[in-house]
Amino acid sequence: MITGALRQTGRLFALAAEVARAIFRRPFQFREFVEQFWFIASVTILPAALVSIPFGAVIALQVGSLTQQLGAQSFTGGASVLAVVQQASPLIVALLIAGAAGSAICADLGSRTIREELDAMEVMGVSPVQRLVVPRVLATMGVAVLLNGLISVVGILGGYAFNVFLQDGTPGAYLSSFSALAQLPDLYVSELKALVFGFIAGVVAAYRGLNPRGGPKGVGDAVNQSVVITFLLLFFVNMVMTGVYLQLVPPKGG
């Protein structure tokens, strides 16, 4: 049981290492990359925008009501930075990348595996990791980074709108507390998180897709597991990265 779990983990890491190596091996599958990028972007952009508006709003409302009670209403803008840019945005990215992109990748690779397409590819001397997995992982990473920017913008705008229009906050206070607390490293770490999340989601989805257990039902199970495993990993990695970031980078306000 334990050795089984360790073996799976080891193979997952082996695949991650192989992908990292194969990224730099020529020829690069540009066409496949563009197709996957387009596909992943098309399934994630709209849900991302739709999720981030209420998310930004909820944070604005919650923090707004809290700061109002404390008499620190003018700091609501700063809270958006901390909450939306650093936490909410990468987590929404994680949600969508794992749920929408990862499941699609896993199902696609899984069904190809059970139809022996990947074996056929290997037999023809073409590495499925290089031909299929690398473009997909790179595409998820790219989309994750861009998506993260989109969600940050939409989330902050949503927070701004709710704060100003519903909670009688003043635009000036929002913006000034924003620029008082926000600093560029906040955005950098947010984008770095998204990049790492994209890589993890892509690799986990590919790993489960390449190793489905027993027939079509196995593919369904694999998709399910890939989403769950990705969630667990991403939330954990998010915690670690947040902890490290808060230790390493001094807050601007302090």
Binding site: E122, G125, V126, S127
Partner: protein, 359 residues
Amino acid sequence: MGIEVVVEGLTKSFGRQQIWRDVSLTLPAGEVSVMLGPSGTGKTVFLKSLIGLLKPEHGRVLIDGVDMVNSPERDIYETRKKFGLMFQDGALFGSMSLFDNIAFPLREHTRKKESEIRRIVMERIEVVGLLGAEGKLPGEISGGMRKRAGLARALVLDPQIILCDEPDSGLDPVRTAYLSQLLIDLNAQIDATMLIVTHNLDIAATVPDNMGMLFRRELVTFGPREVLLTSEEPVVAQFLAGRREGPIGMSEEKDAATLAAEAAAPGGADADRPREIVPQLEPSPGLPPRRAVARRRERVLGMLDRLPAAARAAIERTYATSGTPGAPNATGASGTSGAPGTPGTPTDTLPLPSPRGGA
């Protein structure tokens, strides 16, 4: 010319279940070999091990000095380009048309121009009788057509080793016969080493130069076709006769009690009827003779005194009737020389009867 495939002491298990152990054999260069075996004896696993898709725990598979089991991945990938593997159900890429499927190896491994690719692909499509279907997706055609498309894809890089996984399954007897002829014709044209895994007795009787059989986790025998066809081994005899009496049961094998009961019961009388050896297929008229024939003759005659008596007699009989060197098993026809040096322009034109339509 084909490459010799040397298998030494191969053992493969899945978890605790051993598939077969200590399999050693040599596929002679350019000859056609058949691996027989009841369903579920790991024939497909054996094929996949040869090409390095599955990694046996022990043993080696040597091809041109590369060990497909233990060599570095890079060497294995390089060596695989010499292979053509026809999967049981074609294993075509579901999202690509037949044309793109067959063109895939060319596009991945060569820098040929699109017009050149088109010429080669259409040639292969014609060989397997799929003209007109090249634009279809694999999901839109019958299983037999998928199989033939898979064969065309396996052939497109001019492989030196061709592996066929149950080429007959899902094909009617007529198409199976066409396919047998196609395989022999291919061998005559490109002189590739071929291994066919099957449990079809017609293919086994007419196509191969060499035959082997897997049963009960072991290679029962491997050698010139006459050895297996005249074998007194109960498993082989039962399999070739396709009867119920014998060591092979509905599930993998029978228990001792059933076997004893069977032995005691009368009625296995026709069991001892001697099997006739059907002559091997010849390449279609107009094709060059198979160069493997001459090589095989020399090889088999060289090992004659080590073979069982029945096999020896059978071999002597076939070579005696053929008379001329280089054309064993000949039914009186075909060339006076299967001698090497016959110009082999592989697959420029193939005057084949093309089994077209749904199969």
